[in-house]
């Protein structure tokens, strides 16, 4: 929006905002750190919603609104993306030297890797009812974890903003 002048802005108002627009708006205010934590906040929100989705699906199963086969087919699509997203975020923290944030996330990455190695990361329709309570517990704990990290990232982002404006 830099050198376009006033005229085009008045006569063709921008209704669609793209990431690029956001970038240009925010660039003056955010440092790299700010960007990192903004990204982390968004990721945490996405992961948060994934967990809520998981928990809703599990309750649906308990109430017999969905059968175990469909449930597992649906959830299994999200298992690996969720883990990868989380691992990527952790990697970002590691590369940017955010040790506290990295240490916060490392145990969960380790847990996920361990699950993949043991090949029991996918939901198994034949076992789902026996392991349902465990899955629910795990999802709730992850939900709590993502919630905590969401606020932590938000706090760090704001901190970064403030330090910049100073």
């Amino acid at each position: 929006m830099g050198g376009e002048g006033m005229f085009p802005l008045i006569y063709s108002p921008r209704v669609e905002w793209t990431i690029a627009d956001l970038y240009f708006i925010l660039t003056p205010y955010l440092t790299f750190l700010g960007w990192l934590f903004l990204f982390a906040v968004l990721m945490a929100a996405v992961l948060l919603f994934t967990m809520v989705f998981f928990i809703i699906m599990f309750s649906d199963l308990e109430c017999d609104y969905i059968n175990p086969i469909d449930l597992c087919n649906k959830l299994n699509q999200f298992v690996l993306p969720e883990m990868i997203a989380h691992a990527f975020l952790t990697l970002c923290f590691l590369l940017s030297g955010q040790w506290l944030a990295f240490l916060l996330n490392a145990p969960l990455v380790g847990y996920n890797v361990n699950k993949i190695m043991a090949k029991n990361h996918m939901y198994d329709a034949t076992e789902i009812f026996r392991t349902l309570s465990g899955h629910k517990k795990e999802s709730f704990i992850k939900l709590g974890f993502y919630l905590v990290s969401f606020f932590y990232y938000l706090y760090r982002m704001i901190l970064a903003l403030i330090s910049e404006s100073d």
Binding site: L61, D64, N67, I69, A125, T126, F129, R130
Partner: protein, 944 residues
């Protein structure tokens, strides 16, 4: 004939449907007689005035009113009269002064029962309406009012009579089990107690609307680990007793065992609760004059269906109290179309036969083809709709086109294994009756066809997919016979039996599936109502653990024939017998099982071969007979009532094209005392439950963990018993157990030493996995001997043993304790666990004995191993053969045990196998029964 009846005040005439005559009942005393009371006075006045009809409870009022409506006008020969009675010739007037009696005429001769009626009030009761077997008749509610407690007493006595416990004391409180504590340390267990029935379920009086002896299911259908239900979960937790249902709802029906056929309700009047969908059963209550019934589970009042009291065949009013669903715990309803997703499907069988070189050489293909051929008439095919398909598989898939009218089959080979397709849309799955000539000709030469094949490799997974495509539209059963590991196409398996893993904590990984294909495929099958039976013939590792996944989740069964070689006649006979029984099995198709229970009870876990489709719905594409399921129960809320009802319903299509619902209703009294819980514990059911839990544990954790689970649970139970029930806390030299659980420690000891769970590095993973399959599917009747084998001494058996008794049944010798102390050097012994029979020959056996049994001159000539005993012309040989024959047919199920001759001083492998069944002995580093008890005792003292 419609003469109106006038009976004097205090008399009542009742119609007795069974003898087609009136009974005359004196209302004040409850006594009844056939004769018209005194001088008849015909046709003078209208129907009898009942003394106090209005004060009777509603549900009792109803039948009489109805009966009078139907029969009241007379039209029958007998003409009731009224008259005060003076002294009819009935004995037993003892209690009549205070508590009037009620006799039903048909009952007069039953002395044993009579006393219990002696104290009864004049309550005519539905007790009078028992099944004909009881020989009791008549007696719809009399017009008398009576105190409820008297009524209770009567029912109590009835229940007691049914349970064979004689007469109950006449008090109002609930019945309790009498607990006897026994000490186990230093005692030899009494193994004959293993066949004892579970403790009786002491239902409160008037729990059921009829007093039929069949209101509780036979333990072979369904039993519960506790025959009293705790009122709260905390009580259950505190008692440490497991709460689970153990059931084999599709139990086979054997007339030789005295089984009654399951009563079938043919008029398709199915009364169900609107809210909880429970089926009407003997434990409901009728209210509002019998127009409504109150559900015994959720308490909702439901309308009685209009046709409930109507005999649709003869088009007349029927007797409600004679309805089978009110008199029997196990009934089958014929389901109307609302219960069908589609018209009843025909039974469909797809055979997938491995024809690789190894399979052909072992003779499996030849025996299988011949057995199928011979069983074609026995395959359920009553309405001539049964369909059959045969796929032979090696490195490619061989389909057989069997068109109607053809006498020869033509073979179609598909070698594309990755994307399986059917080479022909029709004629691959054919009607058994229509294409019989082609099928017969194919089976006749199937083995020869592949005789010269040298193909090594087995595309089992692809063949299963093809079979699934073939029958998926209809559903049915895939019977896979394979002698090699699947090495091609889908679901390839590797020989992963690394001997280094055995005996370590990693061993449990060998008990889990190696490939997810067999699980996902099983789910596909279950969706399409296809079940898979696996027949595995291994000479080497076949990965039973993985392949048995298919039967596990599709409600099939796994059969293993280790080292199968058809040139040994024993192997061929065993396989052919079992296979033909499987083929002839009357299966149920497209089934679902659901257990409903009184409010507050929840099904929390399920064990067995099925797919759990929702929280409480078990899907079984095919229900095989005699398969066991264990369902764990939890209490969500406190239970209020005096008894609870558990109802198992299994909706299925019979192989004769009928949609049916088999309903099994069980009622249990509630209790809030721990000692009562212990008094009502059923050791056989608990052992079955522990077996299933342990096997589950061995897969999810480790074998070590599984064994510890068993011992710890036993220790928990006994310590609670010691501290809470016998109140003798502190250390003691005794191990106190309730009398009804006295064999549980023995069963637990046997279980931790069972081949499916035993410690040790010498058990091949295949055998272990197969043993675990059996442990989780055998019904109690076969499971208990499988855990704790039977041991007989043959050389000194009593004279009646081995000979047919008066009833024509071969008597078995008394069972011995499973300890090698009982083995004598000159003796002949038999050990059997339902899967194998071992004939143990002592090395000092007299030549005469060897001569008589084996037709050999001396012990030295005797060969150990798999054998068939010759039937010789001497009484001893005949008796031994009789005992073996009896053992083979003793239990339900298809299994035909092998006979092994074990010489006491040769063949160490066989010898130690046989000795490993003697579970009371010390074996390697596994403790003996006495040591096991000490371990348990130390755990018990630990918990103080």
């Amino acid at each position: 004939m419609s003469q109106e009846i006038h009976l004097p005040q205090g008399w009542e005439a009742r119609w007795d449907g069974q003898s087609n005559a009136y009974i005359y009942v004196e209302q004040s005393t409850g006594r009844s007689q056939w004769e018209v009371p005194t001088q008849p006075s015909y046709g003078s006045s209208p129907a009898p005035q009942q003394s106090a009809p209005s004060s009777r409870p509603g549900r009792r009022q109803y039948p009489t009113a109805q009966i009078q409506q139907v029969y009241g006008g007379g039209g029958y020969d007998a003409q009731p009269q009224q008259q005060p009675i003076t002294a009819p010739g009935y004995p037993d007037q003892g209690g009549a002064q205070q508590q009037p009696q009620y006799f039903t005429p048909g009952f007069g001769g039953q002395d044993a029962q009579q006393p219990s009626y002696g104290q009864q009030p004049q309550q005519p009761a539905y007790g009078g309406q028992q099944a004909p077997a009881y020989g009791q008749q008549g007696g719809y509610g009399g017009a008398q009012q009576q105190p409820v407690d008297q009524m209770n007493n009567q029912f109590q006595q009835m229940n007691m009579g049914y349970q064979g416990q004689g007469q109950a004391p006449n008090h109002g409180g609930p019945q309790l089990h009498s607990i006897q504590t026994v000490n186990l340390i230093g005692m030899q267990p009494d193994v004959s107690g293993l066949d004892a029935p579970p403790p009786p379920s002491l239902l409160p009086p008037n729990a059921s609307v009829t007093a039929s002896p069949h209101i509780q299911p036979d333990p072979s259908y369904q039993r519960c680990t506790l025959t009293s239900m705790p009122t709260t979960q905390s009580l259950l937790n505190k008692s440490k007793l497991p709460l689970a249902l153990v059931m084999a709802p599709y139990r086979s029906f054997r007339e030789s065992d005295g089984d009654d056929p399951v009563p079938v309700i043919e008029d398709s009047v199915i009364a169900r609760c609107r809210r909880c969908r429970a089926y009407i059963n003997p434990f409901v209550t009728f209210i509002e004059g019998g127009n409504r019934w109150k559900c015994c589970m959720c308490g909702l009042s439901n309308e009685v269906p209009q046709l409930f009291d109507w005999n649709q065949v003869e088009n007349k009013q029927a007797d409600r109290w004679a309805r089978k669903e009110l008199n029997h715990s196990v009934v089958e309803f014929i389901a109307p179309t609302e219960y069908m997703v589609r018209p009843p499907q025909p039974p469909v069988y797809a055979f997938v036969i491995d024809v690789s070189q190894q399979a052909v050489q072992s003779g499996m293909v030849a025996v299988a083809a011949r057995t199928i051929l011979e069983s074609l008439d026995n395959i359920p095919n009553a309405d001539k709709r049964t369909k059959i398909a045969i796929i032979a598989v090696s490195t490619s898939l061989h389909f057989f086109s069997l068109p109607v009218g053809a006498t020869e089959a033509s073979m179609l080979v598909v070698s594309d294994l990755t994307d399986v397709f059917l080479p022909k849309p029709v004629d691959l799955l054919v009607n058994l009756t229509e294409s019989r000539p082609a099928i017969e000709s194919l089976l006749g030469k199937l083995s020869d066809m592949f005789q010269d094949s040298h193909t090594v490799g087995n595309a089992l997974g692809s063949a299963l997919q093809a079979a699934h495509q073939l029958i998926g539209k209809i559903g049915g059963k895939i019977i896979a016979l394979t002698a090699t590991l699947p090495t091609l196409g889908e679901g390839v398996l590797k020989a992963r039996d690394d001997p280094k893993l055995l005996g370590t904590s990693k061993e449990s990984s060998l008990l889990n599936a190696a490939s997810s294909f067999y699980k996902t495929f099983a789910i596909e099958c279950s969706k399409q109502q296809v079940a898979v039976d696996m027949f595995l013939f291994s000479t080497s590792y076949t990965d039973v653990a993985t392949l048995s996944c298919l039967p596990r989740y599709t409600a099939g069964q796994t059969y293993l024939y280790p080292g199968f070689n058809a040139s040994r006649s024993e192997d061929a006979i065993k396989f052919a017998t079992e296979f033909s029984k499987v083929l002839a099995m009357p299966i149920g198709l497209e089934a679902v099982i659901r257990v409903r229970a009184s409010r507050g009870i929840r099904m929390s876990a399920f064990h067995g071969n099925f797919f759990i489709r929702s929280t409480d719905l078990l899907a079984l594409p095919v229900v095989p007979t005699d398969q066991n399921y264990v369902i764990e129960l939890q209490l969500e809320d406190d239970i209020k009532g005096s008894f609870v009802v558990l109802q198992t319903a299994i909706l299925h299509t019979t192989c004769y094209g009928e949609r049916r619902i088999r309903v099994i209703t069980q009622a249990m009294p509630t209790t809030d005392s721990i000692s009562e819980l212990y008094g009502s514990a059923d050791q056989v059911a608990i052992a079955t439950y522990l077996t299933n839990k342990a096997v589950e544990r061995s897969m999810s954790h480790s074998l070590d963990d599984a064994r510890n689970t068993i011992t710890n649970k036993l220790g928990d139970m006994l310590s609670v018993y010691k501290n809470q029930v016998t109140s003798s806390a502190g250390a003691s030299a005794q191990l106190a157990v309730p009398d009804n659980l006295k064999l549980l420690p023995l069963l637990c000891c046997a279980l931790v030493k069972h081949v499916g769970l035993r410690e040790g590095a010498s058990i091949p993973p295949d055998l272990r996995a197969y043993a675990q399959c059996l442990l989780t599917t055998l019904p109690c009747q076969s499971l208990i001997p499988y855990i704790h084998p039977r041991f007989y001494s043959l050389h000194n058996m009593p004279p009646e043993a081995g000979n047919p008794g008066d009833d024509g049944i071969i008597a078995l010798p008394p069972a011995l304790n499973l300890t090698s102390e009982r083995l004598e050097r000159h003796g002949l012994f038999l050990i059997e666990d339902g899967q194998n029979i071992f004939i143990w020959v002592g090395h000092e056996a007299v030549p005469r004995l060897i001569q008589d049994v084996f037709d050999l001159n001396s012990y030295g000539e005797l060969q150990g191993g798999k054998t068939t005993l010759p039937l010789l012309d001497n009484p001893f040989s005949q008796r031994v053969n009789n005992i073996i024959a009896k053992t083979r047919e003793l239990r339900r199920g298809v299994y035909r045990p092998h006979v092994y001759v074990v010489k006491s001083d040769a063949e160490p492998a066989l010898r130690s196998w046989a000795l490993s069944l003697l579970v009371e002995d010390r074996m390697d580093h596994m403790s003996s029964y006495a040591q096991y008890l000490t371990t348990v005792k130390s755990k018990v003292s630990l918990y103080v």
